[in-house]
Structure formats: C-alpha cells, structure tokens
C-alpha cells in the first residue's frame, strides 16, 4: 500500500509540474497534429489505397510525439538536478520506474485522445463504433511504448546526443510492437472480424509483459553509478 502511494506521489508530481506549463503536452499534441497534416499531403487522401496507410499514419503520429514526451521524462530530472533527490527517496528502483512510466503513459494517452479526434475530422473516419477494440489496442501499444521507452529514457538522459540516442534505442526494439499495432488498427478500422486481431493481441500482450518483467529485473542497474 505504501508502495502504491509513493508511486502515485511521483506520478502526481509529474502531472502537477506539467500542468503548470503544459509545455510538453502542447508540443506533443501540436507535433502529432503536424504529422497527420504532413501525411495527408504525402499520401493523396482521396485515393482508395490510403486505407492501407491510414493506421500507419496514426501510429507514426503517436510514436513520434510519444518520443518527445519520453525524452523529457528523465531528461528534465537530470537537467534540473532533481534526479538525485528522487533516487534518495526510500523507494525501490522499480517504484521510481513505475512512477515515471505511468506519467509518460498518461501524457501519451492525453495526446492520443487529441490526435484521434483530429484524425476523425481530417480523415473522415468515424471511430465511435470501434472505440472499444481500438481503445484496447491503443492501451496495449502505449503501455509497451512507455515500458521500453522509460528504460531507454533513463539511459539516454545520461549520454551525449540524448534525443538521437533515445530514438536509436527505442525504434529497433519496438519493431514487433509497431507491426502488431498497425495491423490490428488496420483490421479494426476497416471492420474486420474481431477474431482477426487475436494473433496481434497476443504479440502485444507478450511484448508488454516480457519487457515489464525485464524492466523490473534491470532498472536498478540503470540508475546506479
């Protein structure tokens, strides 16, 4: 119980701090908006073959702007020198990891809700009927992304060329997740039978569980000096 309270304190601190400036949330939302617009020009939206691409566009928007949030998650703590204060608190590394991870997750979800509504308008797709399965896929995808991203954010925050390094670490590892997300979203948006997404769901769940477990086992090694 104490553990959950402490994790929640970290999440609360991140959210309260972000709500003061809204800097990160605004830039994440703006960025994903831009991605949607740019892709609209790159792939002529009038064409039928857009259907193939549209779920990809959505996830590119999610992941690229998610990456912005991730980079700042530990980056800000290190720049402002608060990381040591956090590390000195009586909480296990896993607790610090969970707190930061949930923070990133919540910011991403806010950005995703915004992006989805813009997406519905710009691409003329009614997502209301698919809200439930789509929500599940987005939940699993965002969780997986935050899971690996928080680990690599903690690593890259200490290195040179921080942002580039974060992308280089996150992208290759997230390949199976991205494939599963794009395919599952595609099936859902174009009215496929729900059974069709089961294999992808399995991959997503496996990905999330495996990497959460690995983060649990290894995060202590990342923050020690």
């Amino acid at each position: 119980m104490t553990f959950i309270q402490k994790v929640w304190a970290i999440v609360w601190k991140d959210i309260a701090s972000e709500l003061r400036t809204k800097e990160m949330l605004l830039s994440m939302c703006l960025f994903s908006f831009l991605v949607l617009i740019v892709f609209n020009f790159t792939f002529d939206t009038g064409l039928k073959n857009l259907r193939e691409n549209i779920s990809g566009i959505l996830w590119v928007a999610f992941i690229f702007s998610g990456l912005m949030g991730l980079g700042r998650s530990f980056g800000v703590e290190r720049d402002k020198g608060t990381l040591h204060g956090l590390l000195l608190c009586p909480i296990s590394p896993w607790g610090i990891y969970l707190g930061k991870m949930i923070g990133v997750f919540i910011f991403m979800v806010v950005m995703e809700i915004f992006t989805l509504s813009v997406f519905t308008v710009l691409y003329n797709i009614n997502i209301i009927p698919f809200l439930l399965p789509l929500g599940l896929i987005i939940f699993l995808g965002t969780l997986g992304f935050a899971t690996i991203g928080t680990v690599f954010s903690a690593m890259s925050a200490t290195t040179k060329a921080r942002d580039v390094m974060l992308s280089i670490l996150v992208f290759p590892i997230s390949v199976p997740m991205i494939i599963a997300l794009v395919k599952a979203t595609y099936i859902i948006l174009w009215g496929g039978a729900i059974q069709e997404i089961y294999p992808w769901l399995k991959i997503l769940i496996a990905f999330d569980l495996v990497f959460l477990l690995l983060a649990y086992l290894t995060f202590g090694f990342i923050i020690e000096e």
Binding site: K160, A161, L169, P176, I179, I203, F211, F221, I222
Partner: protein, 236 residues
C-alpha cells in the same frame, strides 16, 4: 603465455586451412544446383554467417546476464567483443542476401521474416555499439548489459510478428526449394566448421585486443596518478 601463443598459432593455422578447404569444397567439390545455377553457392557463405551472427548475439546476451550477476568486467568485455563480431557477420548476411535474391527472384530485397529479422537485429546491435561509445565510463557496462538483454529477448517476438505479418500479406516471392544432394551437405558442414573457427579466432583476438587496451589504459592512468601525487608532494 608462450603456451597460449603456441595454441593460438595452431588455431590460426587450422582456421586458415579450413577456410581454404571450404573454398575448395564450395567451388570444386559441390555440384552446381539445378534450379538456381551457380549462384546457389552463396548459400555456403550466407547460412553459416547468419548462424554465427545469431550465435554471437546469443553470447552477448549470456555474457550480459553474467556481468550483471557477477559484476566481473571480463563478461562485459566478452559481451562487447561478441556483439562487434556479430555485427560484422550480420553485415555479411545482409549483403549476400540481396546479391543472392537479385538474379534468382529479380528483386534485391524481400521482406522475408528471416531477412527482416536479421535487419532488425543489425540495427539493435549497431545501437548497442553506439550506446557503448556515448555512455559515461562508470555507466557503460551496466547500460550495454541491459540493452544486450533487451535486444536479444526482442528477437523471437520480432520474428513472430514479422512472420505473422508476411503470411497475412500475399507473398511476392515464394521460396523455391533447393534440391540438396549429399556433396552439398558435406560442403555446407565444411563451410560451417570453417566459419565457426573463423568466428572463434576473431573473438579470441578481439578479446585479447580489448584486454590489452584496458591494461594499457590502466597502466597509463596509474602512471599519471603517480606523477600527479609526486608533483603535489614536491609542491607542498
């Protein structure tokens, strides 16, 4: 030390001999495959390299776990050297793959699960090497060990995802089976052994080099330290 060196000399000779034998087997002993023609001989390079790349990354994975468990820098060195050689073999796979594919299927690249997984693998371990070069000295070993574990655990998930993705999409290329005859199997085994020897020979040398580099750095640091202390003593 001399014992070690003698062993290395013998090892080097055997490796060299096996490589020549493999070349002989590939070009003279093995028959030309019927449906693909002479180009099929790339197979003898491609397959052992792919296996060794995978094997090298497996060594990195195990050494990374052992490093975190035992906190012994030797494991870190082994993980790093193995990853570097793995990237070399992985590069060979990624170059010979398209060269093989082009004359047979008339495309350079196919998003075949194995080839695509190899490409992702290449990216992961190039990222591993980059992480090592940018991470601070007292964090490098821990970071790369964690990433080495993440990267390898990711491989089967990636393979499954890509396979699922390809089977749902219509395959542009349907793999033509190779009609394997006994001499071909012999040749493959010889090439396999030769490449394995080459791999271990490279690994031993690379680890030796890394250990030597660390030793020189240590000696240099301790000399600088001594000079610094002596200087201070004279100053005071």
């Amino acid at each position: 030390m001399t014992h070690n060196r003698a062993f290395l000399k013998v090892f080097q000779f055997v490796t060299f001999f096996m490589m020549l034998l493999a070349l002989y087997a590939i070009f003279v002993y093995a028959p030309v495959e019927k449906s693909m023609g002479i180009i099929q001989k790339i197979f003898y390079l491609h397959v052992p390299s792919a296996f060794l790349a995978f094997f090298a990354f497996f060594i990195t994975f195990i050494a990374s776990i052992l490093y975190l468990y035992k906190r012994d820098n030797r494991w870190d060195t082994i993980a790093f050297c193995s990853a570097e050689i793995g990237v070399i073999f992985c590069t060979i796979v990624l170059i010979t793959g398209p060269i093989w594919a082009k004359p047979i299927w008339n495309v350079w690249w196919t998003w075949d699960p194995r080839l695509t997984t190899t490409l992702i693998l290449w990216f992961i371990y190039v990222a591993y090497l980059m992480l090592r070069s940018v991470a601070g000295e007292n964090r490098r070993s821990n970071f790369s060990a964690v990433f080495g574990i993440f990267g390898f655990v990711n491989v089967p998930i990636t393979f499954l995802a890509i396979r699922l993705w390809r089977t749902i999409h219509p395959l542009v290329i349907t793999g033509k089976g190779i009609n394997i005859s006994t001499p071909m199997i012999h040749t493959l085994i010889i090439a396999f052994v030769a490449f394995c020897l080459l791999f271990f020979w490279l690994l031993i040398n690379r680890i030796g080099l890394e250990k030597m580099r660390l030793k020189v750095e240590e000696i240099r640091a301790s000399i600088e330290d001594k000079i610094h202390l002596e200087h201070e003593k004279q100053g005071g």
